[in-house]
Amino acid sequence: MASLSDISVTLEQRPTEQLIAVLNEIDSLLKELIHSDQQGTIDLRSLPLFPGDYDMLKQLLAEGEVSATLQAMGPSTIQETRVPGVWWVTHFNQDDEKIAEYIEITRLPSLLKTTDEDLKDAPEGLRNLIEQVINN
């Protein structure tokens, strides 16, 4: 019996209207960022993409200069694409299951900045480290 991968599936019409629409939306959000300093996001899980569109979009935007990994409640990858100002942000849970995925059009995704709350607790954490060094 043939396995699932043996069944030939031909994808119609490349590139799809959906893919072109997402690219046009990124274009218009980039212009908003340039002219009005307005940040934009596209929730990739809210789009009715054709199978194959996702891979094609990722391949097309590709990886740019900056790549960061956040380790908080599972990993997140924050990757600037080869289009400056267009970031591909993917959040995973502790089981490496994808829980959210965005294209962010911004100078810097906000999750990369240290938050005020964490900054407030930072001196105490540092003091503890200093005490450890002194006591050892």
Binding site: S8, V9, T10, L11, E12, Q13, T16, E17, Q18, I20, A21, V22, N24, E25, S28, T41, I42, D43, R45, S46, L47, P48, L49, F50, P51, D53, L70, A72, M73, S76, H91, N93, Q94, D95, E97, K98, I99, A100, E101, Y102, E104, S110, L111, T114, T115, D116, E117, D118
Partner: protein, 362 residues
Amino acid sequence: MRRDETLADYLKQQGISRRGFLKFCAATASMMALPLGATEAIAKALSLAKRPSVIWLSFQECTGCTESLTRSSRPTLESLILDAISLDYHHTLQAASGSAAEEAREYAMQQNKGEYILIVDGSIPVKDDGIYSTIAGITNLQMLKDTAQHAAAIVSVGSCAAFGGIPHANPNPTGAVPVMDIIKDKPIINVPGCPPIPVVITGVLSHYLTYGTIPELDTLKRPLAFFGDTIHDRCYRRPFYDQGKFAKTFDDEGARKGWCLYELGCKGPTTHNACATAKWNGGTSFPIESGHPCLGCSEPDFWDAGGFYQPISTADFDVNKLATTAVVAGAAAGAAFGLYNRHKKSSAEHQHHKTSTDELKE
């Protein structure tokens, strides 16, 4: 998590940084179909949100709805939301049984009078005074009335609780009815589906947890954020419908090319649900993506709505006419998809803020 703790306190105790919390809020925004810009507002609200008490009653049902919610591997977003609520009674999941279980329900009702959320799955038989389904000697009908009396709001999970579902199907031997046919004086949110998408169930709970209100509903009491569009509106195969390209059998050239399944009985055009974007099995796919027509399981009386493989009556849907119109508009279709998404997000944000529980009380 203690009842007087907030979710933010709980996560901080687990060693999760503010950045981790914001990541959780970003994922919650996506889950609730809100824009990423809502993350800060969600974080602020969740920082103050207390743990609500939840009583879950299962009546004439197959446990598929509970399976849908709990079968995702831990720890997921869904399980975090479950951690954030106090599930005080659920006779499938709780350890207690018999009179101890019923006492737990009565205790939760007394302690949280007027504040608890009642979740119901399964329909309620009313024929012959409801004798066809009982728990601990109490009819489902009586238990629903007793428990609903002091609930803040009711969430009817699954098509059985929302619309009667399969027990309600012709000839309906037990006189099964949905919750909203019995309870008339409480805010009710219907989350239909057979079963409903887990993320939609938790999206509704997240909304309540975050804002303390219930989301804006359609005329069938379904949250517009998830049931505002038809499967057809959000289907990736929609362009083929617009072009008049249809699979005629399950193994023809059109089926292999992924064309529209309308003529194979797809109920997408008349079915409101979020399957096309929220998807199933951790976002893997949804029925149409697997080559099968939508059965319309989140609509009332889907079981009696004709054959699953019979096309929807063309009285309302003239395929050729619609297809011709769409081809004329085809040049703008690409841009429309993108604009549609942005419009959807901004209207979803509006919907999530609109209606309070108090406003729905008559």
